[in-house]
């Protein structure tokens, strides 16, 4: 089966390392994909705040484009790695299904642009694809460099599992943990898995956002995690890039590696760190390398 890859804006800029590592992992696992041609922004959270109908048509255009590009294929599976894109696409499908009037308006508008929207396409998150399509067993078989001794705190973020996704539990998701258990790591039991990281508030109202990120990092450290893995470009950015700001504000040490789950999985698959965009991280995960080679963690 072939997937249609919808990167979204942030995977082309701050989340570039997410794109690199995701595609590297897909290649390593022989997952076929094709990028959606001339995709547009999903609208994220901001568009919905100004004009709802336009937000829905933005997302619907992407779905319609995907259906057009894959009209020869049996199934249209859109892989949306960014949590906001993933959630918005799902939300659009659900909304249009529930509101036939709006569906008619949006369908008619798309028709004028030569696009045909049907509810055929399936919106998939990469975790969903890896766990349910490839399978944990297959991934276990492909592991080259087991993550032995590494304690992973998997952090899903809000919109990966809430509120429309169905591939995992909304309160205590476990799919990412399954992946890392398969890769030989120890997973940390914690309650922060789906707690908000502050999202775009880090750019707008930092007084509110930094404590949110701090709580997550603090909890991860308290549970002796070596690494926090994320599945969302905004989460990764907030949790990694603001660590110095957080430390200054709370007079504490939250230094911990925050990397994309695809990067850690890629390391376990034995892929070249450069291909996984590790060089784009603010701090190189020396700690992880050391543990993987059998050493002791540098900081706990």
């Amino acid at each position: 089966m072939k997937y249609i890859y919808y990167p979204g804006c942030s995977l082309k800029s701050t989340g570039k390392l997410y794109e690199e590592s995701l595609l590297a992992v897909f290649d390593a696992l022989d997952i076929k994909y094709e990028e959606l041609k001339d995709w547009n922004c999903c609208g994220a959270t901001a568009y919905m705040a100004v004009d709802e109908k336009k937000a829905f048509v933005l997302a619907a255009r992407n779905i319609a484009l995907a259906e057009q590009q894959f009209k020869e294929e049996e199934e249209v599976n859109i892989v949306a790695p960014c949590s906001a894109c993933y959630m918005i696409l799902l939300k659009t499908q659900k909304f249009l299904e529930d509101n036939p009037e709006d569906m008619a308006v949006i369908k008619a508008a798309l028709k004028e642009s030569g696009l045909d929207y049907s509810a055929k396409a399936k919106i998939r998150h990469p975790i969903d694809v890896l766990v349910n399509d490839v399978g944990v067993q297959e991934i276990t078989r492909r592991i080259n460099k087991p993550l032995k001794g590494i304690r992973v705190a998997s952090y899903y973020g809000c919109q990966t599992v809430r509120p429309y996704s169905t591939f995992d539990d909304q309160r205590n998701p476990v799919t990412m943990d399954e992946l890392f258990k398969a890769a030989g790591a120890e997973v940390v039991e914690w309650t922060m898995k789906t707690r908000c990281c502050g999202a775009s508030l880090t750019g707008t109202i930092q007084e509110v956002a930094l404590p949110l990120s701090y709580i997550i990092l603090h909890e991860a450290k308290k549970r002796r995690a070596d690494v926090v893995t994320t599945a969302c470009s905004l989460c990764q950015f907030n949790l990694e890039c603001y660590q110095t700001n957080i430390d200054a504000k709370f007079k504490t040490d939250t230094k911990i590696d925050v990397i994309y789950f695809t990067q850690l999985l890629g390391l376990a698959l034995g892929l070249d760190p450069k291909k996984l965009g590790i060089n784009r991280l603010f701090a190189q995960p020396e700690n992880l390398y050391k543990i993987m080679e059998g050493g002791k963690p540098v900081y706990v």
Binding site: N40, E112, R162, T204, I205, V208, L212
Partner: protein, 227 residues
């Protein structure tokens, strides 16, 4: 409702006003906007809003409720009662980070996040939104950027927002920006899709076909997004 009516104080002479500001802390029923409730319920596609039992689960689930001037539970009740101005000028609407925790937990199935979106829209439309608050400016700038280019470019978006709201923040975040730029994670280039004309036409056509009109080019929006 007029702002002066809203801020009405007891009749005090000027001398007394200098000593202490006395404001009426309650609102009379006649001053409430009774149609507000239906408007928001319709805009949020949430007639379930009427069935709120005020249990407070939303406020407990909300990770930022302790910064809000009214918690989500209070906001819902205020919407139902018709406290239009208080709700639309509150910090609550712009602090909501859309994490959907409340929506998932609500025992009555109220889509509280969507109610917040409806309030954000209403706040922008009615020109109630805080003009210097980065959250509302970001939403507006983001809207226009995607409208014109089809994609969002994080670099220019943030620079514009900081210039408009707090240029000092731009300076403060310069080091962070530089670090990102060194790693190829941010650029000043504006990302664009190829078929911008068709996208604009598409968005316009939705507006034309819809029953209600959203004025994107209202003066308030223009003012907010122009740098």
């Amino acid at each position: 409702m007029d702002k002066t009516v809203f801020a009405e104080s007891f009749a005090l002479d000027n001398a007394a006003k200098d000593i202490v500001e006395i404001r009426r802390r309650i609102k009379y029923e006649g001053e409430l906007d009774k149609s507000f409730r239906d408007k928001i319920a319709k805009s949020a596609h949430g007639e379930k809003l009427y069935g709120c039992i005020q249990c407070g689960t939303c406020s407990a689930a909300c990770p930022v409720s302790h910064y809000m001037d009214y918690t989500p539970r209070k906001i819902i009740q205020m919407v139902r009662e018709g406290f239009k101005e208080e709700v639309l000028t509150s910090s609550t609407v712009w602090l909501c980070a859309s994490c959907y925790a409340c929506t998932v937990e609500c025992p009555k199935g109220i889509k509280i996040t969507d109610v917040m979106y409806a309030l954000k829209r209403e706040s922008i439309l009615g020109n109630y939104y805080p003009k210097k608050s980065p959250a509302s400016i970001l939403a507006n700038n983001f809207f226009n950027q995607v409208l014109n280019n089809g994609r969002n470019s994080e670099g220019p978006l943030l620079i514009k927002m900081y210039l408009k709201t707090n240029p000092f923040m731009l300076f403060k975040n310069m080091a962070l920006g530089f670090k990102l730029w060194m790693r190829g994670r941010i650029s000043l280039k504006t990302e664009k899709i190829k078929d911008r004309k068709a996208l604009k036409k598409l968005l316009q056509s939705v507006e034309d076909k819809s029953n209600y009109k959203v004025k994107v080019n209202s003066s308030s929006l223009k003012e907010a997004s122009a740098v």
